[in-house]
Symmetry: C2
Amino acid sequence: MAIDRKQNIIDAATKSFSLFGYKATTIEQVAKLANVGKGTIYTFFKSKEDLLDEIISSVIVEIKETAEHAMDPDRPFLENAHRALYRIAEFRKQHPLTIKLLQEIRDIGTPAVQEVMKRLDRAIIAFIREKIDNAIKKGEIRNCDSEITAFLMLKMYIALNFDWEKEHEPLPKEKIAELFELYFLKGLSK
Amino acid sequence: MAIDRKQNIIDAATKSFSLFGYKATTIEQVAKLANVGKGTIYTFFKSKEDLLDEIISSVIVEIKETAEHAMDPDRPFLENAHRALYRIAEFRKQHPLTIKLLQEIRDIGTPAVQEVMKRLDRAIIAFIREKIDNAIKKGEIRNCDSEITAFLMLKMYIALNFDWEKEHEPLPKEKIAELFELYFLKGLSK
DNA sequence: TTTTGACCATTTTGCTCATTTAGTCATTTT
DNA sequence: AAAATGACTAAATGAGCAAAATGGTCAAAA
């Protein structure tokens, strides 16, 4: 056992961050869980924050893959955008690490966690933006500021998936798809 | 002097809340500022929270009036919606009380303040919703869920006016109007 | 060369106690 | 009689501090 020490550490840290949050997990705890000495962690990561950073980098890759998988090149852009964003929202809602870290931001606002989640958002926006740029190039949608559009799309999904539920019944997937189509595709004009 | 004691108290409290925040203003401070005894405050308001509540109620009225004023019955609905929402966003950005209270929510998360600002949001959404319902009735826009649409419109304005600025240059008024038109009126379809 | 845990400087925590605060009410003022 | 008041109380807050915990280092061990 204990072959890939770095992966062991990452796994242990991910588990602990998901369970107790970033602030409440200690490096010693991670070392114990990973069956390595505390010093070993610092041969792979330059700080606790750096450890979290690397973990989030994998999450970003994972999210991008999930979103990419949900898309189908034969379907229209807006449908793919919805599928991707919906999967991204699902991921956030279901992944123990993102759940815990977002909760930690709300409850204690740990700066390192805020920073890292901002980076996650930026990565998602960059991903969506790329898709928008492609769709514009292909003439699938009208020309628009892809950065702002990606930003607004993500905001809309977060609003519908997380904020709406604070005061109302959760919206079913179909309703969200319908709303996305209405506002980003058709508009309210008759 | 000291004619309308209740108004004095409200004025003093508004000033103090705007300057120091809700948590950091004491009832005694308000009493001093208003030139009344502490007990007098409790003949008009049943608690500190109730005092804040009444102040926010006036703010709600004020915001509604400002928004109403910005609208012109001869212009199309979407233009009016933009004008109203833009004014509402401006108000939030410029009114010392809302600035301070929103900052207090970010910094220390005072529960009473969170509650009261939620109420403000609900009032704005209700206001917009009414306008949407009217526009639907008059056939100005296509039928839609007015509650969700109002919710999304406000979210979009907050996103463009407050969240966008955290990572980018502020968007000029015209750009925001253009984006609003694009997404809520026309959509991205060609 | 890689791994390790004792070690160090700094933070965080748990605790006490004095101060402050929201709210009450008997007394004073009008 | 009605309205206003501020001394008072119970509860909350926060300053101050000792003890414990924590992130990170590094000389020794493997």
